[in-house]
């Protein structure tokens, strides 16, 4: 099952990746070669096998529901591309 150009464009949109027009044919070809590798999985009999999500099968550890972080807004915003008055700046979202 090979991906078409339109599907590659849709995946790129879902991933919010801007692709150059000229790169799409090559990207499509490479993705299809990777999916060909992945499709080898379908030959494996996994009937009744429980999926393994965590190698040690650990469950999420919980902690007490208390504040344990101090506010570091200034430090975090010092490395942002654009901030003003403690806010991250992005292009206008609502017209």
């Amino acid at each position: 099952m090979a991906l078409e150009r339109s599907e590659v464009e849709k995946i790129a949109h879902l991933a919010r990746l801007g692709l150059n027009e000229g790169d799409i044919p090559q990207t499509t070809e490479t993705l299809n070669s990777i999916l060909g590798l992945i499709d080898q999985m379908q030959a494996v009999d996994t009937q009744g096998i429980e999926p393994l999500a965590h190698p040690l099968e650990a469950t999420q550890r919980l902690r007490a529901d208390v504040v344990n972080e101090s506010n570091q807004r200034d430090a975090y915003q010092a490395i942002a591309p654009a901030v003003e008055n403690g806010l991250y700046l992005v292009p206008k979202v609502i017209e």
Partner: protein, 483 residues
């Protein structure tokens, strides 16, 4: 001075043969002189290093004598370092100076190490050749026309070229072991959860583990002992005491049961590598080990399963790089969608984009069961193979890689051909078990790596076997010509 191992440096500093400052100055000069041939460093932190070295000398003068006090190291550039660029080998982290230290960085600082800088790597640790870095490829010091392996290629090249005695790395599918193999080093990927992932930029969170690369197993034991341990800031960190890895080195190998999986010696393996590996097995037998043929029948399914699980986790992890809060932002975005798409499209390299897209596809509606669930089922089959094998053997031994270091650019046209190079290392990440690579000789002047796999939390046993072999062999002492 550049030939000294961490253990020898500890003795030299304790005996006052040299100071930490003298040692750091000497290595910094060596980096400035030789690294242009290798491109192993992204950032050299000279001022920080000298400040830390002086502080280490002061602590030693005040009576402290811990083994890593004043020891020079460097970090793979995905460990966050407070106030120093952390690039992950990517354009998208242009100018990113983390506001905190990764737990590994913090622990090694507390142990008194001196940080010489940040090391080159495949972009977001995605690669086996260190050619996908935004900062350019790293060269293998054994032959600068060849790749050093990846993704911890800068760590491997720098340590192999004696620019520093040891470095940190990370291993998601073989990224410590494979570059260690291709550059004649010892490197260990610990059990999943043994080393904190906090502040280590995530690629595939259920597979990523940090670990050391060094020239001896003893040095790996020293460094891993300082890196490992429970960390409440990493939700998958394992809350169990760290073994005394140094103490386990001396254990005799009499009675050691080695498993040789037939799948590791079959088609696809360069026969010359197989011969070198089997020669080491003969030496280990002389030291008292016994050998048993075993089978890991699901190994062949590991690469397809990995290339679902890792990209799926990556597509989720890398969604945080959006051009809003840190790193690269495109010029003049016309709206928010454009800002996201162009910042990411321009900021990520080709291999990272490919893996994000594969992961996005595998997780998208209608494909989740066929890809992600199927891959996780195969993951269990692979784990079950190891659980069964470790009932009869203590360690599993085989080659680390099927081939020697290849020429720069040789596998760039076909990414899948490079993926297949990780066939022997990927299973340990999927199962979460520890794996170590150590030098096993040379073919045509290029290093051969031997891999040891152990049961969960058996890092000490792997280091022990490698150390005992290194007491009766000299491969690990070989230095690349010109370095």
């Amino acid at each position: 001075m550049h030939q000294l191992t961490l253990a020898e440096i500890a003795r030299g500093l304790a005996d006052k043969q040299f100071s930490a400052e003298e040692l750091s100055r000497s290595l910094l000069a060596r980096i400035a002189q030789l690294d242009p041939q290798l491109n192993s460093f992204i950032t050299v932190t000279e001022d920080l290093a000298l400040e830390q070295a002086k502080a280490a000398d002061a602590r030693r003068a005040a009576g402290e004598n811990s083994p890593l006090l004043g020891a020079p190291i460097a970090h793979k550039d995905l460990f966050c370092t407070n106030g120093v660029l952390t690039s992950c080998g990517s354009k998208i982290l242009t100018g990113f100076k983390a506001p905190y230290d990764a737990t590994v960085v913090e622990k090694l600082k507390a142990a008194g190490t001196v940080t010489l800088g940040k090391l080159n790597m495949d972009e977001f640790a995605m690669g086996s050749a260190n050619e996908s870095s935004h900062y350019g490829p790293v060269k293998n010091p054994w032959d600068t026309s060849r790749v050093p392996g990846g993704s911890s290629g800068g760590s491997a090249a720098a340590v192999a070229a004696r620019l520093l005695p040891a470095a940190t790395g990370t291993d998601t599918g073989g990224s410590i072991r494979q570059p260690a193999a291709l550059t004649n080093l010892t490197g260990i990927k610990p059990t999943y959860g043994r080393v904190s992932r906090w502040g280590m930029i995530a690629y595939a969170s259920s597979l990523d583990q940090g670990g050391p690369l060094a020239r001896t197993a003893e040095d790996c034991a020293l460094l891993l002992g300082a890196m490992a341990g429970f960390d409440s800031k990493d939700s998958t960190s394992v809350d169990q005491p760290v073994d005394d890895y140094l103490a386990s080195l001396a254990q005799p190998l009499a009675g050691l049961r080695i498993g040789l999986p037939k799948e590791y010696f079959g088609a696809g393996l360069d026969a010359r590598i197989g011969e070198k590996v089997m020669a080491v097995v003969e030496e280990l037998k002389k030291l008292g080990a016994t050998v048993k043929d075993i089978s890991l029948p699901n190994m062949q399914h590991a690469i397809p399963a990995y290339y679902v699980i890792a990209p799926a986790e990556a597509s989720s992890n890398l969604s945080r790089f959006d051009g809003v809060r840190f790193g690269y932002r495109c010029e003049n975005p016309k709206d928010l969608q454009d800002l996201y798409k162009r910042s990411r499209g321009e900021g990520f390299g080709a291999e990272v984009k490919r893996r994000i897209m594969v992961g996005t596809y595998a997780l998208s509606a209608g494909y989740y069961d066929a890809y992600y669930i199927k891959a996780q089922q195969i993951r269990r089959l692979i784990k079950n193979d190891f659980v069964a094998a470790f009932k009869d053997v203590d360690v599993i031994l085989g080659p680390t890689t099927p081939n020697l270091a290849w020429k720069l650019g040789e596998k760039n046209a076909d990414p899948v051909s490079a993926y297949l190079e990780d066939i022997y290392t990927i299973t340990a990440n999927l199962a979460g078990i520890p794996g170590l690579s150590m030098p096993a000789g040379f073919v045509d002047g290029l290093p051969v790596g031997l891999q040891l796999l152990g049961n969960y939390f058996q890092e000490g046993r792997l280091l022990n076997v490698a150390h005992q072999y290194q007491q009766v062999s000299d491969w690990h002492k070989a230095t690349p010509a010109g370095f």
